[in-house]
């Protein structure tokens, strides 16, 4: 299953801007996503922004990343610019929201 553009973007950013290697960066983001009930394959930029603001900072600090707060502020400001690509199939949330209006 392919991971979303938002997931790939944040992992690339962490790998580039911290001392975390690729495996550590992806693992840290996956852990934060799991705690937030989000999935790497479906997470969208708007959800990633909230994740960065509310969860990722703590995860990065726990990994020993210095000045995690400033890094997260910068990432949260930039994440909105990600091109999420063309909309794929409806997410389960979209379907269940629509079913409630039927």
């Amino acid at each position: 299953m392919g991971d979303s553009a938002a997931f790939e973007w944040i992992c690339d950013q962490l790998e580039e801007r911290t001392a975390l290697n690729r495996l550590e960066a992806r693992g840290t983001v996956r852990l934060a996503l799991k705690k937030a009930g989000l999935e790497p394959s479906r997470v969208v930029p708007a959800q990633m922004k909230v994740l960065i603001e509310k969860r990722l900072c703590d995860e990065l600090a726990a990994c020993g990343v210095g000045d995690a707060t400033r890094l997260c502020d910068s990432l949260a400001a930039a994440v909105g610019a990600i091109d999420a690509g063309p909309p794929g199939v409806d997410s389960p949330d979209d379907v269940f929201r629509r079913l409630g209006r039927s």
Binding site: M1, K35, D93, V95, F96, R97, L99, S102
Partner: protein, 247 residues
């Protein structure tokens, strides 16, 4: 006892009829296949399978020429009612899974072949039925399909609850995952209860009264959860929103 057992079944039939029709009407407007995959099984399991099955089994001795086609019709409705939630689950929760796609394709094929085989071999004449492994196959497949549908929805509800804590989910939509999971999961439990009654008594015509009562209770729970999922009263919506705000 019979009257008590009828309460749950009748309630489920009415709720399934109303929601099923609403979903089908919505599908004619939106052409979204998910609406069809929710509406069709509710109509098949509730207002179509229950009455035809009950009348079929009650009249099997006195008017078999009417009863046997009715039982066959009920079996077809139960098969459709088992297939649609499985296809829905594949499309909504596991669209990229090869295993889920395989299950969603194989299940209707196997159940259709089983139904055709029974039609051609008198398999709906329950007076002379053989309780062999072929008899139990559609029962087990339906239980598996409905359990899968319920389980996937409840799994996603757990994810949604975590999102809710971050303000990333709507409390009413989150709750709908739980309600659909319980409602459709009840279908698996009631099928299992019917199967247990048949296995323990070797009699599919007249279900044991205790199991009938159990099926009725489960049908009542299913009716309540499906009603709250798709026709929630404003008061219930306000309750969910207030609870989410206070959390």
């Amino acid at each position: 006892m019979e009257l008590l057992a009828a309460v749950g079944v009748v309630t489920f039939t009415v709720v399934a009829l109303v929601i099923g029709l609403r979903m089908l009407i919505s599908w004619t407007r939106t052409r979204e296949v998910t609406e069809l995959l929710v509406g069709l099984p509710l109509l098949c399991l509730g207002p179509l399978a229950f009455p035809s099955g009950i009348i079929g089994f009650r009249t099997l001795e006195t008017a078999p020429q009417v009863a046997i086609p009715l039982i066959g019709f009920a079996a077809l409705m139960l098969a459709i009612g088992g297939c649609c939630p499985a296809i829905f689950t594949y499309r909504v929760f596991r669209p990229r899974s090869g295993f889920a796609r395989g299950a969603a394709i194989a299940l209707p094929i196997v159940l259709a072949l089983d139904w055709i085989l029974r039609c051609s071999t008198g398999g709906f004449d329950y007076r002379s039925i053989h309780y062999d492994s072929l008899f139990y196959l559609p029962w087990i497949l339906r239980i598996a399909a409905l359990s899968w549908a319920g389980g996937e929805s409840l799994r996603y509800w757990r994810l949604m609850r975590r999102r809710l804590a971050l303000g990333l989910a709507d409390p009413v939509v989150t709750n709908r995952f739980a309600l659909w999971g319980i409602g459709i999961g009840c279908g698996a439990i009631s099928t299992l209860l019917a199967l247990l009654s048949i296995v323990l008594t070797s009699d599919a015509v007249g279900l044991d009264a205790r199991y009938s009562l159990g099926i009725s209770a489960v049908a009542l729970i299913s009716a309540i959860t499906l009603f709250l999922a798709f026709l929630p009263p404003q008061r219930y919506i306000r309750f969910l929103e207030a609870r989410a705000e206070s959390a």
